[in-house]
Subunit: 106 residues, 2 copies
Amino acid sequence: MELLKRLSDYVGSEESKFYKTTLFRSDALLLGINCLEAGQVQKPHDHAGQDKFYYVVEGSGRFWLGDRRVTADAGQVVWAPAGLVHGVENEGESRLTLLVGIAPAP
Amino acid sequence: MELLKRLSDYVGSEESKFYKTTLFRSDALLLGINCLEAGQVQKPHDHAGQDKFYYVVEGSGRFWLGDRRVTADAGQVVWAPAGLVHGVENEGESRLTLLVGIAPAP
């Protein structure tokens, strides 16, 4: 099993929806990347039994967190505890790349 | 509970040992920062029942992963599955800042 990965090797895009891929996975933790091109959206949703974080690697995202909207850019971390509705929209003009962790893994 | 944090607000240093702090914590996941100044070391250790990742935010680290040594710099992710001996040394000349996740939380 490869234990060292460079994020930029896993960045990607799709026209029809945001791009996501898995970097590492165990029962305890799923670690992956979400890439949203300008205008793309990850619709608000929740995970009943899983905590989640987003770390903004590049770009800027407008997040839903329950009934709040917050903007996070490169270097910021968003925490979505289990049960809280969350999602993100790329309102910027460049790619939004997010390192994402979900625990336990879905 | 604050759900949005900027990593750079939590970076720190100590002379006697590497600096660490917690960003977010649940039973499922501990998310924090480790900062190693030039020459500082996180000695090899393991977590019997916890998976761990390091994301290199800035600088470069020389990691132990079982019987391997690997170098990771900004933008790379290191995965240390439960039971694998791991640690990191800052052999560079500038601060090494790591976003670290441990699941489940210790």
